[in-house]
Amino acid sequence: MQELIEILQNLHPEVDFAACDTLIDDGILDSFDIVSVINEINDTFDVVIPADRIVPENFNSAAALWELIEDLED
């Protein structure tokens, strides 16, 4: 989880990713950020996030994104 928070903070150092759960709803992460995050996740966790899993529910918080990574690892 800490590695994921670091990936997100590299994009937006001003955001408290551990607490925020409206990353998409509030427009904090835009489509360009999402693709960057997916590429970093691919590199760090060796997990490919397919296009059909790119939905607000999976990207609204670091916790939801972490859950998605764990799900894809399984």
Binding site: D30, S31, F32, V35, N39, D43, V48, A51
Partner: protein
């Protein structure tokens, strides 16, 4: 049958009356009959295109669903299979579904591309009087979105052919959207919700508001746009600037007016459709603009083109290669910039198979990429001038975005890419203020009364955007009177088709 025609109003009133007389479970059947009837008015042969979209999507959707169900059942029965075997089975089943999806998409987008090419003026000499089926881009995209979501397992397929036909042909949305998603629209489309005076009233108010924007403002402003762009050589310099600004207002009132009517009609029947606009002229930058303007088209392209391209395996490989050879920063840009260019190229083509629309799409992509590249500069600027924030700076950004988008939209109204660029350049190299002041506004197709009506209408639209509360009923009664008195359908005018009907 235009939304702005008397036969349509009569058709709508009759449909609403019968809708609420019928038992709730039968109402969707009436909607289907009304939708197909409405579409048949545009030409019986056009129904063939729609039937093709419905039947091919129905067949593909049901087969994909059957394959998905088989996969689930097989894996549930064979829980003890080794992981690799499960993976291989899933992959084989996915290949079958993919084949159906790809076939249906190739067929439907192939037909869409063919009709767009046939509608080109260059081809018009061969296929004389060919008219593109009304709203074909909208219903094809809506139905292909449905099919992709079935493939992705977002929702089950609709294996009732008549219900899928209604989703595709739903008459308020068939000609200019919104491009609703199946999981959203189907929640209320087939239900036949009970009558609620409050909900019905809100829908009726929204319809009135839509007609006001269309008939009192848009159709007037479009007369001016027609004059300014009909003989562009006569209206250069400041007139060109006026032309793109008036077109921005006209398109806004035309398109949002049409969507208000569409969503309002749905509301009068208890049917909820997705919003397509969110105060687009308050956008701070181009990203913000495309989150607020034609939202359902933007999300369609983002979900089904931008993301799939950005995260496709070849793109991932390219990103890794760039990371290794060109560095992190370049690698981060490559997938999004390629996907942005492809997505906006496709968005341009969606609007029409012409160089102007392609240039419009590419211009959007280039501005998006440039905005992204300028981010570090903006950050430095804000560090250097930390007080440059707040309402004043927001206003500057709003005006900047409005002007920028108005320039890009010029490709929609001037002939030819080079012609458009030349016309825009006259704003800077021969503004001719004296000619503009001497010519004034009354030479542009509207008399003083018409100009005052359009300006007053625009003022009402702008003022309404600051009001959060639901206005009292008297306001809508006054709007109806305004539509009857000031609507553009008197002598010398025809209530025009909506601009987005041509897509």
């Amino acid at each position: 049958m235009y939304f702005t025609s008397i036969p349509f109003i009569a058709f709508l009133c009759l449909t609403l009356l019968v809708y609420y007389i019928l038992p709730r479970r039968a109402r969707w059947v009436l909607l289907l009959a009304a939708s197909l009837g409405f579409y048949a008015f545009s030409g019986w042969d056009n129904l063939c295109y729609m039937a093709f979209v419905i039947l091919s999507s129905y067949a593909a959707g049901c087969f994909i669903q059957k394959t998905n169900d088989q996969t689930k059942a097989y894996l549930a029965e064979h829980k003890d299979l080794p992981r690799e075997e499960k993976k291989a089975y899933r992959a084989a089943q996915k290949r079958k579904s993919t084949a159906w999806l790809v076939t249906a998409m190739l067929l439907n987008f192939g037909v869409l591309a063919a009709v767009k090419i046939l509608a080109l003026p260059q081809i018009g000499g061969i296929f004389t009087d060919y008219v593109m089926p009304m709203g074909i881009s909208f219903f094809t995209f809506r139905t292909m979105g449905y099919l992709i979501d079935v493939y992705r397992g977002k929702h089950p397929a609709q294996c009732n052919l008549a219900k899928l036909a209604l989703f595709t042909s739903f008459f308020p949305a068939v000609i200019q959207g919104p491009i609703s998603r199946y999981d959203s629209l189907s929640k209320t489309l087939f239900e036949g919700t009970g009558f609620s005076l409050d909900v019905f009233g809100k829908g009726a108010e929204r319809i009135i508001w839509g007609y006001f924007k269309k008939l009192v403002i848009a159709d007037r402003l479009l007369v001016m746009v027609g004059t300014l762009t009909g003989t562009p050589g006569e209206y250069e310099g400041l007139y060109t600037l006026l032309s793109i600004v008036i077109y921005a207002a006209a398109l806004y009132c035309d398109f949002t007016g049409g969507i208000d009517i569409t969503i309002g009609i749905g509301e009068t029947m208890g049917i909820t459709q997705e919003e397509n606009f969110l105060s687009p002229f308050r956008s701070l930058n181009i990203f913000d603009y495309w989150r607020r303007w034609h939202i359902t088209m933007g999300t369609w392209f983002k979900d089904y083109i931008f993301y799939p391209i950005s995260v496709a395996r070849p793109m991932m490989k390219l990103t890794k290669w760039c990371k290794k050879h060109l560095g992190d920063k370049t690698a981060r840009r490559v997938p999004v910039y390629i996907a942005t260019l492809v997505t906006w190229f496709a968005t341009g083509i969606w609007h029409g198979a012409s160089w102007n629309f392609i240039a419009w799409g590419i211009a959007n992509a280039l501005v998006i990429v440039a905005s992204q590249e300028l981010q570090p500069l903006y950050q430095k600027f804000h560090l250097r001038f930390p007080k440059m924030k707040g309402k004043g700076y927001d206003s500057f950004q709003i005006i900047r975005t409005f002007i920028l988008m108005s320039f890009i939209r010029a490709f929609d109204i001037y002939p030819g890419v080079i012609g458009t660029l030349k016309q825009l350049s006259t704003i800077f190299w021969k503004p001719s203020p004296a000619k503009f002041i001497a010519g004034g506004l009354t030479s542009l197709g509207l008399d003083t009364a018409g100009l005052i009506a359009a300006a007053a209408g625009l003022a009402i639209v702008i003022a309404s955007s600051f009001i959060k509360k639901r206005p009292p009923a008297i306001v809508f009664a006054l709007l109806v009177i305004a539509i009857l008195i000031f609507g553009v359908y008197g002598l010398g005018f025809d209530a025009a088709q909506f601009i987005y009907n041509r897509f």
